[in-house]
């Protein structure tokens, strides 16, 4: 009998209240801060090149796309996206898919130009904490089969 009571007491106390603990791991740290946003342009050898635009923050996907559509500026790089009067891009982000509605037709861009859009979008997505395996769907203003393709960036694997 003498040994039962301590066991009972332990049992009783054990269930009572929130017990203090040591530091415990609770998952991955959040991310998303950045000195600027990375845009992708094309160099003279028809290769995609990242270009850090020091905006002081990462910003959103539409902001990055706006900057991309605005052009490379004075840097020896060029863009293969035709300039457009409207810069508005509609972005909807799902768990494994980012869907863009760009104010362009398929004729306004070359395949490299599409890669520029996809890489820039994915870059922001990844830097904001998103998965690198996320697919990107670029929908153009005029109907075309290219609108349905799920794309990835060749530089971000």
């Amino acid at each position: 009998m003498k040994r039962i009571w301590p066991a009972v007491m332990v049992l009783l106390l054990g269930a009572c209240g929130v017990r203090p603990s040591g530091p415990a791991d609770a998952g991955r740290a959040p991310t998303g801060v950045a000195p600027g946003v990375t845009l992708y342009f094309v160099d003279g050898h028809e290769r995609l090149r990242p270009q850090l635009r020091r905006t002081g923050r990462l910003g959103t996907i539409p902001e990055a796309l706006s900057l991309l559509l605005f052009g490379p500026g004075e840097s020896g790089l060029h863009t293969e996206i035709a300039s457009s009067s409207t810069m508005t891009v509609v972005v909807s982000t799902g768990p494994a898919l980012i869907r863009l509605m760009v104010p362009l037709t398929i004729r306004d861009v070359t395949p490299l130009g599409i890669d520029q859009i996809v890489c820039t979008v994915l870059g922001v997505h990844v830097q904001g904490g998103g998965s690198r395996n996320t697919k990107v769907q670029v929908r153009f203003t005029l109907p075309t089969p290219e609108s349905d393709r799920l794309r990835t960036c060749p530089l971000i694997r």
Binding site: D25, P30, T31
Partner: protein
């Protein structure tokens, strides 16, 4: 723990054990489920808080300038909510007094691990959750580096604590609910176990009291039933051997009675003719005269022996009857002594008149035996003292002899017991004291043997004053 607190009755012990086991079991089950539920509650609350803070931070980080200035830190802190501390190198932004609870251990863990870290602490009597969040910079290629921004949030867990208390109370309640059915079950179990035990006890008592026909019917096929069967068998064998013994004893007694009865007819003839012989001895030669006297003496001895034997047989057969009448005890004792010519050899101390209902002849037998023994075996002075109390009359016979040896005392009332071989040839039949004792008992009294402080033998006869007529 054993003596006072632990009850001695089987029922109470069964009850207590049963209730203890049940309630402890119920309490253990309730407590462990309450324990795991509370752990789950704490864990989920912790995860929810952490995820919500991390989500809030993740939502605002893309809008933060980097490297951050004080304004950026303030915005970040505001987005996370109150009781939050944000640091970046030498900059810090704090809100609420409770941010002081953030521990060094947590900070160290945040810096070294670069992962979300939580810690539960207790401060001011309340439980707190500390969440440490390092913010990382992820390159476009996914490479992560520490940004140097650290967010610490302090959250009150009192609500959770209260919920857990509720769980504990409901566990206690559940355990308490088990109590009445446990008591009920224990009583039922105790009864089912104790009933056969009680029956066995009653049977054993009856057996002990001499009712050898007592049995308990065995019920079921458990250990108690086996015990019952065993006890029944034991009682059976005891009964059988007792019956055999009684039969043998009765046979022996009947034989003694028959023998003494058969001896009486020839003894009648002998008794008649030895007196004729006695009156004729005058004309005999010396040796013939002695022979005749021996024959006479031995005949009278034989007669007394046979009479004593028959008396004992009547006691054994239970046919001895008391013939009580109103008797003056002192006078009867005096008459007894006078009739045998002992008055001048015995000191008699008796009150004037003690009236008592008793069998005069049997009292005479007892007194004559005791005084005769004292005169023969003890030494002078032989004293007879009659004394009276409200309950009984006491007749004490003492002598001035060597007294009864220790080894003789327990057997002094045995039949034919002779204290030593030298006394084997005494006029007594060897049944005198046995008959005296039986006569005392027939009166509802008692006869005891002992020694006086002076060393002589002392026999005490006690007779009740209110004799019920048998």
């Amino acid at each position: 723990m054993t003596g006072r607190l632990w009850p001695r009755g089987l029922r109470a012990r069964l009850l207590l054990t049963f209730v203890l086991v049940t309630v402890l079991g119920a309490a253990a089950a309730a407590w462990s489920s309450a324990g795991s539920a509370s752990t789950a509650l704490v864990t989920s609350t912790q995860r929810r808080l952490t995820e919500s803070i991390a989500g809030q931070i993740g939502a605002i980080t893309p809008q933060l300038t980097y490297p951050p200035d004080q304004d950026a830190l303030d915005r970040l802190r505001a987005a996370v909510g109150p009781d939050t501390l944000v640091t970046y190198r030498n900059l810090r932004s704090a809100d609420g007094a409770d941010t002081g609870l953030v521990t060094a251990a947590l900070r160290a863990a945040v810096r070294t691990r670069n992962r979300l870290v939580t810690q539960r602490i207790s401060a001011g009597g309340r439980p707190w959750l500390l969440v440490g969040i390092p913010i990382e910079i992820t390159g476009p290629d996914g490479a992560r580096t520490p940004s140097g921004i650290e967010v610490y949030a302090v959250r009150d867990l009192t609500g959770v604590d209260r919920q857990i208390d509720g769980l504990a109370w409901s566990a206690a309640g559940t355990a308490a609910l088990a109590l009445p059915p446990a008591v009920l079950l224990a009583l039922l179990a105790a009864r089912s176990v104790l009933r056969p035990v009680r029956e066995l006890r009653d049977t054993a008592r009856r057996l002990a009291a001499g009712d050898l026909a007592a049995r308990s019917p065995p019920q079921g096929a458990d250990e108690l039933a086996e015990l019952t069967v065993t006890i029944n068998e034991m009682a059976e064998s005891v009964q059988t051997s007792m019956a055999t013994m009684r039969r043998l004893q009765a046979d022996a007694r009947r034989f003694a009675a028959d023998v003494s009865h058969e001896l009486r007819t020839p003894l009648s003839t002998l008794t008649a003719v030895v007196e004729v012989l006695a009156t004729a001895t005058a004309g005999m030669e010396a040796d013939a005269r002695e022979s005749a006297k021996l024959a006479i003496t031995e005949t009278h001895r034989l007669v007394r022996l046979v009479e004593d034997l028959m008396e004992v047989s009547r006691f054994d057969a239970g046919t001895a009857r008391l013939r009580p009448e109103e008797v003056d005890v002192a006078g009867a004792v005096r008459d007894c002594l006078r009739a045998r010519g002992w008055l001048d050899r015995v000191d008699l101390a008796a009150p004037e008149e003690v009236l008592l209902r008793l069998d005069r002849r049997r009292l005479d037998v007892i007194v004559a035996n005791l005084v005769g023994n004292a005169l023969r075996h003890g030494g002078p002075p032989v004293r007879v003292a009659v004394s009276v109390s409200p309950e009984q009359v006491r007749i004490e016979v003492t002598d001035g002899g060597p007294g009864l040896p220790e080894h003789v005392m327990p057997r002094v009332f045995d039949r034919f017991y002779k204290a030593d071989a030298a006394r084997a040839r005494t006029p007594g039949s060897g049944l005198g004291l046995a008959i005296a004792l039986e006569n005392a008992r027939l009166h509802g009294g008692d006869l005891t043997a002992g020694n006086t402080s002076g060393g002589g033998a002392r026999f005490v006869l006690r007779l009740p004053r209110n004799l019920e007529d048998a």
